[in-house]
């Protein structure tokens, strides 16, 4: 049985490799697919002013990382993936929530609505709420709702990628994702501390 399984998997592997070998290699690094979810770009929020403990906003540029992975480029095409070093065309996020560019901080909550961005699937617009220099809410004002897949995506939450580097002591993290660890690595981990706090 095992030999049959191995044979089947090997054949499949070979077929897949052969098949993919014919794939055109001329495609550029720019990915044409739009992202379907929306992020609030923290860099444009008031956090530029107050960020005492956090290296936010401006850190997105100084670290050389591309800011958010999502919809908001001027050109209307977006890149789906964000990679740490390489740009895949998504860089327009600086232009994204244009109207949120205020750098003044205030202790009252202020909301900023980003520009509506036209994507192939419809308009996307995000509103962020900033209080004391931190984003406290990100609400989607407009999302594409044209087809079933849009509805499926929008029925899950809007993930907000936040460039703010947070230390392990931050009480704001609820759960930690990292490369799979075993029980040995766990006991020293931030996740373990979070678990312990709620047992």
């Amino acid at each position: 049985m095992r030999r049959i399984v191995i044979w089947a998997m090997s054949t499949l592997t070979v077929l897949v490799l052969l098949f993919s070998y014919n794939t055109s290699r001329s495609s550029s690094a720019i990915v044409a697919a739009e992202t379907r979810t929306v992020t609030a770009t923290s860099k444009t929020s008031g956090s530029t002013g107050s960020a005492s403990g956090s290296s936010s906003a401006s850190a997105t540029d100084s670290s050389g990382q591309q800011p958010n992975p999502v919809t908001t480029t001027d050109s209307g095409t977006t890149s789906k993936t964000t990679t740490g070093g390489s740009s895949s065309g998504s860089s327009g996020s600086s232009g994204s929530s244009g109207s949120a560019a205020s750098s003044s901080t205030s202790s009252a909550a202020t909301t900023y609505a980003g520009d509506a961005v036209m994507t192939r699937y419809g308009n996307v617009q995000v509103q962020i709420t900033v209080k004391d220099g931190k984003i406290t809410a990100a609400d989607v004002l407009q999302v594409p709702m044209n087809d079933r897949r849009d509805q499926m995506i929008n029925s899950s939450a809007v993930p907000v990628y936040n460039q703010e580097a947070v230390s392990a002591q931050s009480a704001q993290i609820d759960v930690v994702s990292g490369a799979t660890y075993t029980w040995d690595g766990y006991t020293q981990s931030l996740q373990s501390a979070i678990d312990q706090a709620h047992l």
Partner: protein, 263 residues
Amino acid sequence: MTRPATPADQPETTPAPARRAWVEQIMGMPISIHLRGEDVDRLEAREAVADAFRILREMDSIFSTYRHDSDLMRLRREEVQLSQCSPLVDQALRIGQEAEVLTQGAFTTLLPTGDGDLAFDPTGLVKGWAVDRASAPLLALERISFCINAGGDILIGAHPAMPAAGGDAIVWRVGIEDPLDRQQVARTLTLARGAVATSGTAARGAHLYDPQSRELVGRPGSVTVTGPTLLWADIWATALFVGTDRTREAFAASAPDYLSTAL
């Protein structure tokens, strides 16, 4: 400060906790389940959590490569036929095949056994799949949002009647470990629903297999994928970590509901 006297026969009531966690070791890793919402400590909730752990243990007993008597290992030793195994094994084979095709070969279930052999090993997809399956009893809990963390891979969800967006939604702030300093959080995401899978070498060294080079990948860094299911977030995180530009193109084309970020 005085407090009102309570009659001896009347117990003091304490408010239900807003959050409760349980941790068990299954599949060789710590798996934690957190509940937030109303009455998170109620009997129904505790039973659902127990159910979720039971499902995870069942998946482990079928698929573990560390257990001599798992369905998978017995199948490998040809002690049983596929038809005699749990139907989940056949399903794993199919998912593995689909994953191999969609990732253009970057993800495979044909992995080195350590004896110089290649064998069917769905480990890379079983964990995420098991967590997705284990979430079923938790989804039935009214007024509750849950977060399962299986050794770094996460699934967040809530009862369908709970709001997924807006001010009333229960959101979880997910920290993504900096692969170069695991005490630091490099990125955060905020989710009310969805899975987050991170693939990399920071915790267990070079254990990710690249079927193109036929080597274990040892480069630093990590890839995090978020999307509706942990099964596919896991598969794509692995594929993207070991893969190439072609893998990224396949990801963009085949998985529009998923997002990735690389550290």
